[in-house]
Subunit: 210 residues, 2 copies
Amino acid sequence: MRMAELSAESGVPVATVKYYLREGLLPPGERTSPNQARYSAEHVQRLRLVKALTEVGGLPLASVGAVLQAIDGNATPHETMGVVQEELAGDPPKVSDEAAEWATALLQDLSHRHGWKWHGSENRAIGNLIAALATAKELGHEKLAERLDEYCVLALRVAVLDVEVVTGLTSFDKIIEAGLVATVLGDRIFTGLRHLAQESVSFEVLNRAP
Amino acid sequence: MRMAELSAESGVPVATVKYYLREGLLPPGERTSPNQARYSAEHVQRLRLVKALTEVGGLPLASVGAVLQAIDGNATPHETMGVVQEELAGDPPKVSDEAAEWATALLQDLSHRHGWKWHGSENRAIGNLIAALATAKELGHEKLAERLDEYCVLALRVAVLDVEVVTGLTSFDKIIEAGLVATVLGDRIFTGLRHLAQESVSFEVLNRAP
DNA sequence: CGTTATGGGAAGTTAAACTATCCATACTGA
DNA sequence: TCAGTATGGATAGTTTAACTTCCCATAACG
């Protein structure tokens, strides 16, 4: 398969494919002569994955690169998913020390009560969670945090589903890609369902006179 | 309160506050003379809200503007939340017609079985959901979609919690802001909890030899 | 064998979100 | 009161991400 077909098959413009090659998001094709190359179905799949991560997942290309490097490396699925979550989370915004401490204590208490042990304790997923909780407090909406326990229970059940989706696969490679897709697209899908459900539930409640 | 204090109080640089004023994200202060103005605690709160929506919620400023305009207008809470969800969703990416039809049928079936009626049928939340499901299929991960029913049930329970968080408030204004915060920060918080839970659950499962 | 396509790289483009600089006016403290 | 700092308002400049254009020497195709 040559450039034109790769581009047509994946829906990514030729110039963009070249750009991704330069950036190392797509491995180079197999040389057939000093300045010609041939691409395979794996290149198509890789491009589709990049598109999914950027367009649906909303990840910056730099994060996509880090994720791809992780899944191409030979780390365990668990370690790889750690990288995925780091990149998915992005840099947590700064919040006031006071609010951050409050949120941290809240989370510590929560994880203690639920018996959660987080390996690799200092990650961005937690940083973001703390920032979000702290921000809610700073805006004067602590009520959200009061229900954290209940959200937590539901999040756990979602996570069990997530893991079930990837189990039963036989190769490491497939587990890793499925985990990636389940995490990145799964976030979007669940958020979408939640929004639809919110609309359905709130219709009865919010339209009453206050 | 004058500019310097507004900036210090909200943590937003003076130049940025001016920029937000120009963009209409922050209402002008009260004039005290032809070229001087005074700001209030509401300006501080508004700036904090903008910061929360951009930094934690990840919304582009244009969307923040649309949301603020909606909450300042005199629509019902339900209508306002519709705008919030539209902006939160962003433009759905294009997917192949085939996959889109498959995803649409899936959703239609789902909403039929769960008795969901969505008012304002053609919104971006649904477009994004369809795109995410279609992308999963295009990547060859239909397994995610097979569990849609179970995700759906959990999403509904999360939404019930969300709505409970905002009920009990007495004024329209407060309901709207709480709904906004519950939706935008709530998404982040739940996603964060889900990621932590995934790590906790997957640790046992993914580290076994395949 | 003339036309089209390709690999590769440098340079240009677009959009978002600021940031810097001016300047005329206003406020403030010794 | 008046030197010095702050303010509102406007214009121009900066930075980063993600492309897109252009170019050229070589290769493939009909």
